[in-house]
């Protein structure tokens, strides 16, 4: 166990400026890290919980687009740091100290905030992304970084080769030194000795401060650069020989750990559904590793049994997550995630769906593979998710046939 004193060497920077265009319309009024997830959480809660559970309590959250929702959430839910003990969570919108630009890429976000590192003078900087779902003890990665005497350690996930072309692919030598890097290659190279899997860049970095400052300052001067860690900084540093990949695996079994980058509506949906299976792929219920969020002052969830005209029981919940204040009042909910203060009225059906806070599902309404954003009343008898052609007239429908009902829309009676 490391002491609080030890952790004063480390500063954590969470990149939370993601616009999340591919999550539209969920990102119409909020940035990606602030999108609700798992009934009561926001996506950023997972990275922040990992930090706090790991002992990393000196945190800058770099925000950019539509940050009001995220600001509010951090203010309400993450006001848990002891500033007198040198813990902090500061939200940093673009300061425009360095120039009059917005952040042009992840590395530019650090470059523009280099003043923060100068003031806090950490030895190590953890750079994390605010839009991933995973459970990670960063101490293991810090141990690895220190043991390897690395200048930069990149955490890598082990993923199946099919689908790996969507990520930055890392090649390593026998000592886990990074020897090659390819951003979204058409034909990703597998792990030597394991042709079915690749190592992908998780966007989780541990830097020696000097290396980070040197890297982003040099990069800032390159006119052709995208100013991105994955595309520019890592490839430029790989030749130095002190860049390592930390494999994100179960230390006991060696099995790949759960990690999801919430990039698209379909990946958002898939990660959500990972929470509601009987043996969930991602476990929220580990008391050793609590996921913290803003706990709204709402009463416990409740169900009210209703009866269909033929006398069978209509009110039921199965394989679902239900937020506080929600009342299942005679409707059926299966394989779904419901937020807070949702009302599921009699004879309605909600299957394989995600419903955010403050939604009312009218009597006899039906939702299937549908995401309903906050503050919506689904009118009595409305059916969504059964007829893509019809749904497309009113809503966003993804390639996988998922329907998204945007926040606060009003249906005519």
């Amino acid at each position: 166990m490391r002491t609080p004193q030890w952790f004063r060497r480390v500063v954590t920077v969470i990149l939370a400026g993601g616009q999340g265009e591919r999550l539209y319309p969920l990102t119409r009024d909020r940035s990606k890290p602030s999108v609700p997830f798992g009934g009561v959480y926001r996506i950023i809660d997972f990275t922040l919980s990992n930090c706090v559970n790991s002992g990393l309590k000196r945190i800058f959250v770099l925000t950019q687009y539509k940050s009001y929702s995220l600001d509010k959430h951090l203010q309400k839910g993450w006001n848990i740091f002891n500033y007198e003990a040198d813990e902090f969570l500061y939200r940093i919108p673009p300061q425009r100290r360095v120039g009059l630009k917005w952040y042009e890429g992840t590395a530019d976000a650090i470059f523009q905030n280099i003043y923060l590192l100068e003031r806090t003078k950490p030895e190590l900087v953890m750079i994390l992304s605010g839009d991933h779902i995973y459970k990670m003890d960063y101490n293991r990665m810090l141990d690895f970084h220190i043991e390897k005497k690395a200048g930069l350690t990149v955490s890598v996930a082990v993923v199946p080769r099919e689908g790996a072309h969507e990520f930055g692919i890392i090649e390593v030598d026998a000592d886990w030194r990074i020897v090659g890097f390819a951003e979204k290659p058409a034909n990703p190279r597998p792990i030597p000795g394991d042709s079915g899997h690749c190592l992908v860049n998780m966007g989780v970095y541990c830097f020696d401060t000097q290396e980070l400052v040197r890297g982003v300052c040099q990069d800032a001067r390159l006119p052709e650069s995208h100013h991105d860690f994955g595309r520019d900084i890592i490839p430029a540093m790989v030749g130095q020989g002190n860049v390592y990949a930390y494999p994100f695996r179960d230390p006991g079994t060696g099995a790949p750990e759960y990690w999801r980058d919430i990039g698209t509506l379909d990946s958002y949906y898939a990660a959500s559904m990972d929470l509601v299976s009987r043996q969930p792929a991602f476990n929220l219920y580990d008391r050793e590793w609590p996921y913290r969020t803003w706990q709204a002052p709402v009463p416990p969830a409740k169900s009210v049994h209703g009866f269909t005209p033929d006398g069978s029981l209509a009110g039921m919940i199965a394989n679902s997550i239900v937020g506080g204040g929600t009342i299942i009042s005679g409707g059926r909910v299966e394989g779904s995630l419901l937020g807070r203060n949702v009302r599921v009225n009699s004879y309605s059906r909600v299957t394989d769906s995600i419903v955010f806070d403050d939604v009312v599902i009218g009597r006899y309404a039906e939702l299937h593979r549908t995401i309903v954003d906050k503050d919506v009343v689904i009118p009595e008898g409305m059916v969504i998710g059964r007829d893509p052609a019809k749904d497309r007239h009113l809503f966003k429908v993804t390639d996988d046939g998922l329907v998204v009902v945007p926040k606060s829309i009003r249906f005519k009676d």
């Binding site: 360095v98 120039g99 470059f111 280099i114 100068e118 400052v213 300052c217 800032a220």
Partner: protein, 123 residues
Amino acid sequence: MVKKVLIVDDEPHLRLLYETELRRAGFETMAAANAEQGLEYVDSMRPDLVVLDIRMPGMDGVECLQRILDRDNTIPVVLNTAYSSYRDNFMTWAADAYVTKSSDVGELVQTVRELLHAEPVSQ
């Protein structure tokens, strides 16, 4: 094409010294007495390189460096300072070179040559 070097320094005798030596080395020169004027010259005269003092009244050289890079991040900038503590300011790491002020201008001229020709100059 003769390369243009902009010198930004608040001390008149140093401006004169640098201009003299850099002209002798074959460069065209111009000099600004403060950062604000220096930025005007960057905009109006498009220098090929800037020699920038750090400690100046008004806007200092580090702020000026940031603003130059914001205008054009390809202009080479040499930070020229009498103090070594400038490295504590991480923004100075974005400069192309640092030269410590001394009565011998040889190092400064050599650095300017290297940056503008991008080829090694014999010692």
